[in-house]
Symmetry: C2
Subunit: 450 residues, 2 copies
């Protein structure tokens, strides 16, 4: 847990304004921990703390601050320092900062960049949001297939110093088309006179810059690689997506799935930073929709008004019956949505899984029916017990089936399966539960329906 | 999407039993795609397909099959081939296979291993389940601080061929204590006469072998590193956890969180492979517990029997009221559980977030109250409308507060916050919803409670 300790130590030094002590300790501190400690502090204090670190570490620390903090810090900084920090960022981090601010602030930041970097940033911002093009790092080392290993190593030595990703080298033809990759490791292990060509792997994995960034996550996970080359339509190498970027994206995408299945709009932002108005907007949709779906549920109950009046004890079990369907349905929806997201389950598996789910749901329903039998007997007598437990079996099975099939149906319609959220399934299960429960009650108790 | 195409092509070749064609194409196929294509096939067919690939690729293909398939394939294989495949696996993959099978099968597999590998496997299996020790790779290249860069590179050349992870080299003293790490890149970029010592980073991140593997995930994500050294209590280097292992673990842990919040026991297994009896056991717990929690909800309704008899229209809105509390609660619980899991939110933030949640929940409650007002007016008149909308505001606020605070409370009690599942919150919200709704109804309609 060293990072938490380090952040706490640093935060304490800052609070005590022990600047000298901080300057002494700075060498052993990781930039990630420094950035974590600077979170939630005023930009002026952040600036004062940054001043205790040698200037060449600023870009690295800056890169780990969150976007909003980066922007407000740049505004506090001397323009020269700002230029220095921005120039020291990796292109992908710079692009991420630029895309996070408003249009006019972006133009202001662009003025701190040299023309070449502006051009690169504009090009990267030209790719769609959440695309691979926005995520990729545009600095990489290329070598030619006809070079010797010795020449390639020499090239790496002269070009590699400033580059982040030289564990993999990219072999291109003179027009920039990617021919293959060679691991630095492979070159190190080879004779200097050997030709680069010999080591090019025929199994090249690439991704297009216009592709959704989730595809980059999938490819890197599937192929267990640490860097994924990005190409244009003609195969020209444009950049590289690295595994650390992909881990961040995977975490964000997982968070979005959590939010969706919890019945909210997906929210990329930090919960701590999200404004209440945003949270309201992300949550209100499903909630209000469910009110309107209740028009049907309420109508169902109204239809069975006579049944209810004749046996008011039925109402005791109404919340339990409708909730059990919703709960069983949420369980199976969660299982399916997650299995579809990880690729464990694909469309073609649906029938086999449906059979399995039917078996499991029946077993669950019967268990629940038995559990609720006692409750029914105690509160309403034998007939009520029969109604409640039969309804329970049916409701759990129906709820599970809905929860299982809805994610497949959504996938089939090219919608996100995670839309099959707990609240949506709760509402559908409600309507089904009400109808099943009171229909069985009307039949068993031989009461008038209307 | 090249991988899916490749898998499909391969599967088609296998179905047609076009072995020659397969042997011709094998060179351009990735082992990951081959393994994916071999999924769900009979072991004898898998074996036949494997035979089309050169023997030296077998261990790599084998490593990407799932554990159950690995085991049944080994049983079909010639013992010599089995020995060859097992010897070619990375130690961590071998340990993962051994820990996935029954005790007696494990002993049988061990007989295929040379004594050194058995010793290593037993040592790794001695670490607790889900610990870093089980996850780590025990092959790595160490160098000494007093060596020159030239000597270190020479050592890498002789030792590196068989090792997976030489992008980072580990500097140890003669007793094996880890002094620091040096990137292969750094050595390549340096003069051969320089001393290794100069390049050791003072900012060493390590993890203990006994630590939970989630800690390894967190450290690798936090520090943006691709390999994390694992040490014992005295600082001796035991192994290395690599980023690809960590991505798999992160995915599993996320899946477990999904399952927990969906109201199930966490399940590491693939949904496709999970047996119905396991699914039943993982799901039945929460469902039945909720039946017993309904004893309180049912008692609440029974207490207000007279109110219900006097105004049966109240029943129309009962499912809506209790569900809305549950839905709003699930939303805030999902937000909190996820934010706590990613580290976005920590315990110390609870009060600030509570204030924000109260604001958002009030706004949501009022919106819902207005939405339901119309429904109430239509189905029950002015008084019912008033009861329903007031109860709605209260229920949404109470549900949200429970959903928000429960994960913090569970964290405080050192329990997993993801236990605050949708079904649990639904049940608690039920009881609160029933009491709030009928209490308000009894007051507004001035009806007798008992």
């Amino acid at each position: 847990m060293e990072d938490k300790q380090e952040s706490r130590l640093l935060r304490e030094l800052i609070q005590r304004e022990a600047w000298e002590e901080l300057a002494e300790q700075q060498e052993i501190m990781h930039v990630q921990d420094v950035a974590a400690a600077l979170e939630e502090l005023e930009p002026t204090v952040v600036l004062q703390a940054m001043n205790q670190f040698p200037r060449e570490r600023w870009p690295a620390i800056f890169a780990y601050l969150n976007r909003a903090e980066q922007y407000s810090l740049l505004q506090q900084m001397d323009p020269d320092d700002g230029r220095f920090v921005l120039a020291g960022l990796l292109p992908d981090d710079r692009t991420a900062l630029l895309e996070s601010v408003e249009q006019e602030d972006m133009e202001q930041l662009m003025q701190l960049l040299p023309p070449a970097d502006v051009k690169q940033a504009l090009k990267q911002l030209g790719y769609p949001e959440e695309s691979v093009g926005r995520l990729m790092n545009t600095r990489f080392v290329t070598i030619r297939p006809d070079w010797t290993v010795g020449k390639a190593m020499e090239h790496v030595r002269t070009r590699g110093e400033s580059e982040d990703t030289i564990n993999t080298l990219y072999v291109t033809d003179p027009t920039g088309r990617l021919l293959g990759t060679v691991g630095l490791k492979r070159l190190v292990l080879s004779a200097p006179t050997a030709s680069v060509e010999e080591f090019i792997s025929g199994q090249l994995v690439t991704v297009s810059a216009a592709e959704d960034r989730e595809e980059a996550v999938r490819l890197i996970q599937h192929y267990d690689i640490t860097a994924l080359p990005v190409t244009d339509k003609t195969g020209v190498l444009l950049g590289v997506v690295t595994v650390d970027d992909v881990m961040d994206v995977a975490e964000q995408e997982n968070t979005e799935d959590f939010h969706k299945i919890g019945g909210m709009g997906a929210m990329g932002l930090s919960l701590r930073e999200a404004r209440p108005s945003l949270l309201y907007r992300k949550r209100v949709g499903w909630l209000v929709l469910l009110v309107f779906m209740n028009i049907f549920g309420g109508a169902g109950i109204a239809y069975f008004e006579a049944t209810i009046e004749a046996a008011i004890a039925l109402v005791f079990f109404l919340p339990l019956i409708v909730d059990s369907g919703g709960n069983a349905g949420s369980q199976s929806a969660t299982l399916m949505v997650r299995a579809l997201a990880t690729g464990d389950v694909q469309m073609r598996h649906w029938l086999k899984l449906w059979g399995k789910e039917l078996g499991v749901a029946t077993a669950l329903g019967v268990t629940m029916g038995i559990a609720v039998w006692g409750l029914g007997l105690w509160r309403g007598g034998v007939e009520i017990a029969m109604v409640v437990s039969t309804a329970m079996v049916a409701v759990v099975i129906v709820g599970s089936m809905i929860g299982m099939l809805l994610p497949f149906l959504l996938t089939r319609m090219n919608l996100d399966p995670a839309t099959a959220s707990a609240p949506l399934i709760t509402s559908i299960a409600d309507i089904c539960g009400i109808l099943i429960y009171f229909t069985i009650a009307t039949m068993v108790l031989t009461l008038p329906a209307v």
